[in-house]
Amino acid sequence: MTEVQEFQIGQMVNVKSVCTNKHHRVPFYLKGKIGKVTEYLGLVENPESAAYSKYNLDVYPLYRVCFKQTSLWGGEQNGEIYADLAGKWLFEVEV
């Protein structure tokens, strides 16, 4: 398996706004939000398929993404939230 890093450090990304009742590793409050990639964490075991199979071999690329508190909850609070998200849940923001 070749390692493909789809997003670059510093790049702005949008979290897919997909609702599913299958096991997935994206909290609702981040869906549809825009953040900045701060780190590429490499390939990790894909828990979204491991949750359905004890013989899971699938992996996915993981990114650390930084979100401004204000962009998630509104208001004027300072600070950021960092979330580790799979590439499959992100797409590039057109600048």
Binding site: P27, A50, W73
Partner: protein, 131 residues
């Protein structure tokens, strides 16, 4: 009234599974769901240790019948009210039962029969103790 409330908090209501509660507080409160956190120290109960042991056995490497990701998946399917009402180990237990039934280790009917049996036995023991 109650049914109406239930339907509002089923998984998928507003696109959220049972565990996915970030920023959801007001919604839960306005449906009368208790979200308070008890600050009382709770005593460890024997069944909690057994629950832990059962999970270790079921998820043992090599012949593991379930894994932590599947456990999470199973508990996320509860409705919000059950998810918040159940204790930590009760969530584990319920998730393990769901996964064992899914894996065909026992059927739902066998589970219900066994549960009744154990319940009757423990009631009988309680009665003898109080006599």
């Amino acid at each position: 009234m109650r049914d109406d409330r239930k339907s509002m908090i089923e998984p998928q209501s507003g696109g959220r599974l049972a565990h996915d509660l970030g920023g959801f507080l007001e919604h839960l409160l306005c449906h009368g769901i208790d979200v308070s956190i008890s600050k009382e120290e709770t005593l460890k109960q024997p069944y909690e240790e057994r629950t832990d042991a059962l999970l270790l056995l079921l998820s043992a490497a090599g012949r593991g019948l379930l894994n932590v990701h599947a456990m999470r998946r199973a508990s996320e399917q509860f409705n919000h009210e059950d998810y918040l009402k159940l204790s930590y180990y009760d969530r584990w237990l319920r998730a393990m039962v769901a996964l064992c039934i899914e894996e065909g280790i026992f059927s739902e009917e066998e589970w219900l029969v066994k549960r009744q049996q154990v319940k009757r036995q423990s009631e009988a023991i309680q009665r003898r103790k109080s006599d």
